[in-house]
């Protein structure tokens, strides 16, 4: 019986402990669930949630388990029953006593064992057990589960919203997965097709470019934006790519767009123009040859041609001039070269001339130039050599001789400087009505004419290379045109003086130094320097830039001609003529007050202004800055100008692309291109002309330069020194 009663106590102790454990585990679960829900909802406060959860677990789980576990030991349960059930007569603990019991205690234990069994049967023990707060614990657990579920449901709703097609489009931008570009150069170039994987490509003019693009979403429509034009990309199911092709003639930028959405990336498409053949005469080296009447009438012409892809035809265009002045007659003929040889890497064309076989007589002239035509479709491009003038002298002296030296001779062939200016002005005026190709061609022709004239004058001054500006084109090509009856520049007096000085000895001449403005030779040098620049700009199809140089050259030519008269003619104010009646009367009342109003502002070249502004904008922007509208405008202009210039200088398109990238990202900090903005800035600096001095307002800091301030400081220092 006693052992049975002891078993009852042990069972109830175990039950109580289990109940406590379950209760606290429920609370633990509830706290954990709440923590998970809260930390997922507001992850930024995770440390707060974690500390709260830890605190609650210690307070509500660990501590109660530790503290209350002792309440469910069998002895503690027996004590508890003693206090709750009177029939146990405060003796239930005797059932668990291991110590020696006296007789009374043993009797009482046996009695209580029976009572215990009875109480158990009656359910008294169950009622007397310490209450386990299951309900509260379960309620907490339910709250935790509810919180977690509500969070999960909310997340589910969010996911549902994100995954809806419209939202997906906004959240997940379209991506260009791969790009392959096939380039098919024009057949006449003989170049083989190429495939590029980089978007920035360089192609030959007229090449067909085929883009193969793969995107993350094939359900869209895509376009390649080439400047203002859009090129639709067609979907090819075979390889799940989009394809478009175009024959490219101009340098530009392109990007990819889809249904109004611009994909990141600005790419450049540089077009390498097919250059005209360059013809150089190896023989004769002079541009003006004189053959005496009885001299040999035979000579050889050797020419070499440089061409990108292939030469179709090389001919000699010759004009035979008979007679002189108003009676001059011209006859044009074309000649083929006798033979072609290959020397090293150059192809040399040979032609043997005999003036007699051409039907020429003494006194006649022949002007010839070598013309090469390349294999470009549509007639090909032509390049010309210098024009060579061959003069077969007659018996009669046609030239004026002074001290045995030739004076005042200018062949009929040459355009005058004045004529070049007039035609350049006309070309600028006609620019809007001319096609670009024609405009460029006319400009180049004028450049060649300017080059001829420059060479002609250069002969009088010795080596032409003396005046060659750095980087100037040393190729000169001539255009043969008949300008009968046209005004010609007279040969300059400088040549007369210079040549005379070489062969004569003067004692009475006034010494004019090299730096004197009256020195015709010095003026001619300046004229030639300006001719170089004019020729350069004309050959670059920039007649606007060439015009000031051409005018300056003309001015110096005139000054050189007037050089001997300048000593008597004073420059400056010239009073109006006064009639004899009024002379020396001293009456000034009839002289009107004169007021002259002028506006003379030389505007900078537009591109220069744009580049200068672009440089300033880039220099003032830091990596963190975003562009203001004014800065955007400046960079837009710089980009447009660079793009325009890239048609002639394809390398510039790279910088136009950088400008566009800056505009697109609205900042100078570009991803994957840290130095791009700096590179653009450097290029703009290179493209800028050197700046000239300007008539500015005062800017010097007067306190630094102020004499008074300096004197004051000096006095202070002196006084300080004296005091020490």
């Amino acid at each position: 019986m006693i052992s049975h009663a002891q078993g009852i106590l042990a069972r109830y102790a175990k039950l109580g402990l289990q109940g406590l454990l379950i209760e606290r585990l429920c609370l633990f679960a509830a706290i954990t669930l709440c923590f998970i829900a809260l930390s997922r909802s507001v992850p930024s406060l995770i440390w707060l949630w974690l500390s709260c959860a830890a605190g609650l677990i210690v307070w509500q789980v660990i501590w109660p388990l530790w503290y209350r576990a002792g309440q469910y030991r069998p002895l503690a349960i027996a004590e508890h029953f003693n206090s709750q059930i009177g029939m146990l007569e405060h003796s239930a603990h005797l059932l668990l006593s291991d110590a020696e019991l006296n007789v009374l205690q043993r009797i009482q234990r046996e009695k209580i064992a029976k009572v215990m069994v009875t109480a158990e049967q009656q359910g008294l023990l169950k009622q007397a057990m310490p209450s386990i707060r299951y309900k509260k614990a379960l309620l907490w657990l339910a709250a935790g589960i509810a919180l977690l579920l509500s969070h999960a449901w909310f997340e589910h709703q969010q996911r549902f919203v994100v995954e809806s097609p419209d939202r997906l489009e906004q959240q997940q931008p379209l991506a260009l997965l791969s790009m392959s570009i096939e380039v098919f150069p024009p057949r006449y170039t003989g170049l083989s097709p190429q495939t590029h994987t980089k978007a920035d490509i360089q192609v030959v003019e007229g090449a067909k470019v085929r883009w193969h693009l793969r995107f993350s979403d094939n359900s869209k429509r895509y376009r390649i934006m080439l400047g203002d034009k859009a090129l639709e990309l067609a979907y090819q199911g075979d390889d799940q790519s989009f394809v478009a092709e175009k024959v490219v003639d101009t340098t530009g930028l392109y990007s990819i767009a889809s249904d109004g959405q611009q994909l990141p990336g600005i790419y450049s498409l540089s077009v390498i123009k097919d250059k005209s053949p360059k013809v150089r005469l190896l023989e004769p080296r002079q541009s003006f040859i004189e053959i005496e009447k009885s001299g040999s009438t035979e000579f050889t012409v050797k020419a070499t041609v440089e061409e990108d892809y292939g030469v179709k035809q090389v001919q000699i265009l010759a004009s035979l001039a008979k007679g002189s002045g108003e009676a001059v007659k011209f006859r044009d003929s074309r000649f083929e070269f006798d033979k072609v040889s290959l020397e090293q890497t150059k192809t040399i064309y040979h032609k043997h001339w005999d003036l007699k076989s051409l039907g020429m007589e003494s006194g006649d002239e022949i002007y010839f130039t070598v013309i090469a035509t390349d294999n470009k479709p549509g007639g090909g491009q032509q390049g010309r050599s210098n024009t060579v003038i061959v003069r077969w002298l007659d018996d009669e002296p046609e030239i004026v001789l002074a001290d045995g030296v030739q004076l005042n001779y200018m062949p009929e062939y040459y355009r005058s400087q004045r004529q070049i200016i007039i035609e350049t002005e006309q070309l600028i005026a006609d620019k809007s009505s001319l096609e670009v190709v024609r405009f460029n061609q006319l400009s180049v022709e004028l450049g060649q004419a300017q080059g001829d004239l420059k060479l002609r004058y250069g002969q009088y001054l010795g080596n032409e290379s003396e005046f060659e500006p750095t980087g100037a084109n040393t190729q000169h090509e001539d255009e043969h045109e008949h300008q009968q009856g046209e005004e010609k520049d007279e040969p300059f007096i400088a040549s007369q003086e210079q040549v005379l000085e070489r062969f004569t000895h003067h004692h009475e001449d006034v010494l004019i130094g090299e730096t004197s403005i009256h020195n015709p030779r010095s003026m001619m040098k300046k004229a030639l320097g300006n001719m170089w620049q004019a020729e350069l700009h004309l050959l670059l199809s920039e007649p606007q830039k060439a015009l000031p140089f051409a005018r300056e050259a003309d001015r110096y030519l005139k000054l050189a001609k007037q050089a001997q008269r300048i000593y008597v003619k004073r420059l400056g104010f010239e009073p109006p003529p006064v009639s004899l009646e009024r002379r020396l009367t001293g009456e000034l009342k009839d002289i009107p007050k004169r007021k002259v109003e002028q506006t003379e502002v030389r505007l900078d070249d537009k591109a220069q202004v744009v580049f200068r502004q672009g440089f300033r904008v880039l220099s003032e922007l830091s990596l963190q800055d975003t562009l203001t509208s004014e800065q955007r405008q400046s960079l837009e202009k710089a980009k447009s100008t660079l793009t325009e210039m890239a048609n002639k200088r394809p390398g510039l398109i790279r910088y136009a692309a950088i400008a566009q990238r800056i505009l697109t990202s609205n900042a100078t900090a570009l991803s994957q291109c840290e130095n791009c903005a700096a590179q653009l800035q450097q290029k703009l600096w290179q493209l800028l002309d050197s700046s000239r001095g300007m008539p500015n307002q005062g800017w010097q800091p007067y306190f630094d330069e102020d004499a008074m301030a300096k004197q004051y400081l000096q006095q202070v220092e002196i006084l300080n020194g004296a005091a020490q």
Binding site: T515, R612, G693, A707
Partner: protein, 579 residues
Amino acid sequence: MTIDFSSGLSQGMLLLLLLSCGWSLYHVKIRLYQQSKRRFGAVLGLNLICYSLLAALLGNLTIYRVNNNQLTLNSDTPAQAPNSAYVELLNQASPSRASLKGYGLYRAQWDEVGPVSLDFSAPAIKPGAVTVQWPQVLVLGQQLNMSGVWHHAQSKGVDSVKLIDPAGDTAAQSRVRHGERFTLSDVPKATGKVVYRFVAMDDNGSVLADEIVPLQVKLAPAARVLVVQAAPSFETNQMKQWASANGASLVVKTQISKARFLTQKVNFDGPVQQGIQPQVLAQFDLMICDGATLSRFDQEQLAALEQAIEEGLGLLVLADEALLQSKTQPAILSAFGLAKISAYEQQNTTAPVTLPSIELGFSALPAQFAESAGIVFEQAQNGRILGVLRAVGSGKVGVSVLTERYRMRQNGLHEQYSRYWQKTFGLLARARQDSRFAIQQVTPSHQVGFARQHCILSKSSALALLWQNKPINLSQSQYNPNQYCTLVWPEQAGWHTLELKDIKGKTLDTLYSYTFSSKQWQSATQYQKVADTNAYVAGQKANVAQTKRQPKQLQPLPQWLYWLLLSVFASVLWWERRL
């Protein structure tokens, strides 16, 4: 060892300590006196020491030791950190002697440090340019002149110094030996923040120095010019063509008879009244006048001209024979002391003069200026003074004896011609911008952590100055009421922006100021520090010679030492009780 009892241990506290000490000693006597005299003595001593230390700590007593030890300081510290030697010297009350390692300190730092007898021997300075400087701000078209001295003590060869422009191209180049001065020049092409580079290489092509040369380039408004001349002149005509073609407004008044003038207006809007009156002159920034015209001005005209100059007008007088021969020169020119050179001296001075970097001979009037006539703004290569200017009120007056400047233009030297006139305009013409930053020279000592002064010239005090978009205070100069200055301490290397605004928030001027890191221009900063430190050492030696007997130097013992000793002695006492 000296104890300063002046600091506070209250009498009550002292009494308490004495009683406590007495009680402790009494117990020590009872406990140990009979046992061991030696142990008793030791414990007694330890107790006394402990109580003394306690008294020192509680009463904050200062125990000094004689400071005759020598400090060893290192003046080279890592970038962006305060100079440890400088901080140490500042913290030392009065160190008697210090040995300084490294390159030393700047003059401004030495000014803050008290007198210290220094042992200083500078290490070798890195090869590079020293005493370099260049303008902080340039006007577009103005030439950048970067000057300095090449320092490469280890080499006897000739090195190459280059100025590299922002595009990476060589803008100027020179070959120099150690100790030689050089000037590298270029004309910036654009406005904004412009960064050149200074690169030096030896004969083998090894780079010895590669530093940046930052500056700001601004656009300045075009000037309004009045030319008054007694006769048509090729000089002014050429100047007019250049100035008008570049946007300047000009009015040219040419005398064609006694009372009649030919008036030419170029790019000039609005009426121009006749005569020389203050309201007429106020329309212009610069007046160019030949000597003949100026010498014919009556008193009223001269007074009007003087008033206009006081108010800011610039006057350039192109001296001529008429001016030299006039019996009385106008009062406005009296300070220049312009006088004709005697016939004897003329023989030596009639030779053509040449201007720096212009390969052309010019003629000049046979005239000379008085000594200290003013600031020389035109000087021939042979040293002859050709132009002098003086400040008169807010304006300036310049006199030039140079003639035939137009020959530069006629000989195709357009750039030199334009720069000549730009410089002259910049020096003399009125600055219409009422509030602007004063321009300084940049030196590599403008470094992170060092104070830098920026000044503003303004007639108005209603200004706001922003440093990196944060307002900072301005203080008016004591010497110049139109000058306001501020000090800034840049904490980061690189460009810093200063914006000058009026009270309405309108930007009046912007200055981009560059601050160098301590790694940049090391040779120049090292050289500067060594020079400043050597100057300081020399100054200190002179002071020591004057005052032979130095007062005894004392230095307080540190507090931590008291605590340490108290802990140790108290531990010994505790241990003794355990025995």
